[in-house]
């Protein structure tokens, strides 16, 4: 099936949603991981949040996703002044495909949960865009790790939400598959407000239009200077190599 552009939905016609999070706080196991943290996500911008493991990146993402965990709090709103409930799509490190559903049914999981009629045509379009048009009717256990994560990407896009949150979505993949999926994600998520959490500096440099580094305890956020070129950037680019060294210095500094 040839890939066709997605039919424009009312959401994608609206101006991209900017997000601001104020005075975020996280206590975990008696430790204050961050306190009074402010995060700005400009509308329509692919933001990468980079930081070492255990710094509280995932908790910050879960806070934005509206997933309550004990010890986390923060004041969250969109640029239109409303809350984010029902306006977020979430993609995790694990593909989280349900093994008892077909690939197509997994892509349309959201409408299944909400008891809405599923838009099969759009789901098949998205599967074609991630290169899995032929696998729509198989069960996920027959797919490779990279293919499964592509299904997860299609499911995330199927939700068509203004804010897309991704928690190290490509870290479990081999290098080549990871590069391909990064390119695919950059292409398909262009124009949306995205926050991608990663511990891989190269991934952030390749995908981020805005790159935030999170480190220290309690953790603080600092923005990296803007990089030339549009994502997905070539990992061999010398400008990226220089930025890579700068990031490592910044991560080591604290």
């Amino acid at each position: 099936m040839p890939a066709r552009p997605l039919s424009a939905s009312p959401l994608s016609l609206a101006p991209p949603l900017a997000i601001s999070l104020r005075s975020a706080h996280l206590t975990y196991g008696g430790l204050v991981l961050f306190d009074g943290l402010d995060l700005e996500l400009p509308g329509g911008v692919f933001t990468c949040l980079l930081g070492p493991s255990g710094i509280g990146k995932s908790s910050l993402l879960r806070l934005l996703a509206g997933l309550t965990s004990p010890g986390v709090s923060g004041d969250l709103r969109g640029s239109d002044g409303r809350g984010l409930t029902g306006r977020v799509a979430y993609m995790a490190q694990q593909d989280l495909l349900l093994p008892w559903l077909s690939v197509l049914q997994n892509v349309t999981l959201g409408s299944r949960l909400r008891s809405e009629p599923a838009n099969r045509g759009r789901a098949l379009d998205l599967l074609a865009q991630v290169g899995l048009a032929d696998s729509a009717l198989v069960r996920p256990d027959t797919l490779s790790g990279g293919m499964r994560q592509r299904v997860a990407l299609a499911r995330t896009l199927m939700e068509d939400r203004p804010l897309v949150l991704m928690d190290e979505p490509f870290s479990g993949l081999d290098a080549l598959t990871r590069l391909r999926l990064q390119a695919l994600a950059a292409e398909l998520l262009a124009g949306r407000t995205v926050l991608l959490v990663t511990h891989d500096p190269l991934e952030a440099l390749r995908l981020g239009e805005q790159i935030l580094v999170m480190n220290g305890r309690p953790a603080t956020l600092s923005a990296l200077p803007d990089l030339p070129g549009a994502p997905p950037r070539d990992p061999g680019d010398p400008a990226l190599q220089a930025a890579y060294r700068a990031i490592l210095r910044r991560l080591e500094a604290q």
């Binding site: 977020v88 093994p99 008892w100 999981l109 949960l113 069960r139």
Partner: protein, 261 residues
Amino acid sequence: MKSLGRLLSTLAGLLALWQVIVTFGELPPYILPDPLAVISVLWKDSGPLLYHAGVTGLEIILGMVFGTLLGCASALLLSYSQHARRWLLPMLIASQAIPVFAIAPLLVLWLGYGMGSKIAMSMLIIYFPVTANFYDGLRHTPRGWLDLARVMLPGSQPGSHRWAILRHIAIPAALPALASGLRVAAAVAPIGAVLGEWVGSSAGLGYLMLHANSRMQVSLMFAALFVLAALAVLLYFFVDAGLRRLLPWHPITPTTDPETY
């Protein structure tokens, strides 16, 4: 087919061992009849044996069906309501401390000599493995799936979408655990039915065995025992095959690769 071949060769080996014990142990036929005598009774009395096997089989199947329904309902209630958990769980565990053997006479007194008391016995004996396994499965839904579902469902109250999550995520995810419970149930359900028949009945393989025992028809007793064993094995294989067919997505062979989890 392979497992059937293994079963038949095990059976042949046991029969040969049996014959050896009878021949060299010089046991009188009213203690241990030789296999040929039992086989001839199986052939000669196949009519009554089949009839009584049918009665016992029906008791077991109905006990399985009702026990499974009751067990599933209890597990759902336990996972859904904290109050149910507080009140029911201690009772569920205490109920396992009382052996079914002890309440069998009571059930016969209450439900009579017919099938009812045997079905109730089978239900009681499978109730715990079904409930405990399914409840365990319902409690251990992978957190990632729950997170995904919560982000997809609009609405701020945490409890507002429990039914959708239960129906589309938690129950399917718990089905492999329920299947383990049902396999155990299929193995123990015949115990309940035969136990009920021993305590008081007018039909069934347990009744036939008691009857044959009191008349020193030891060959018939062995024949009934053999039919009961065949019935139990058949039930287990039927349930196992059915579960595999119903849950094709659940791997039967344990995974050795930790990354698949």
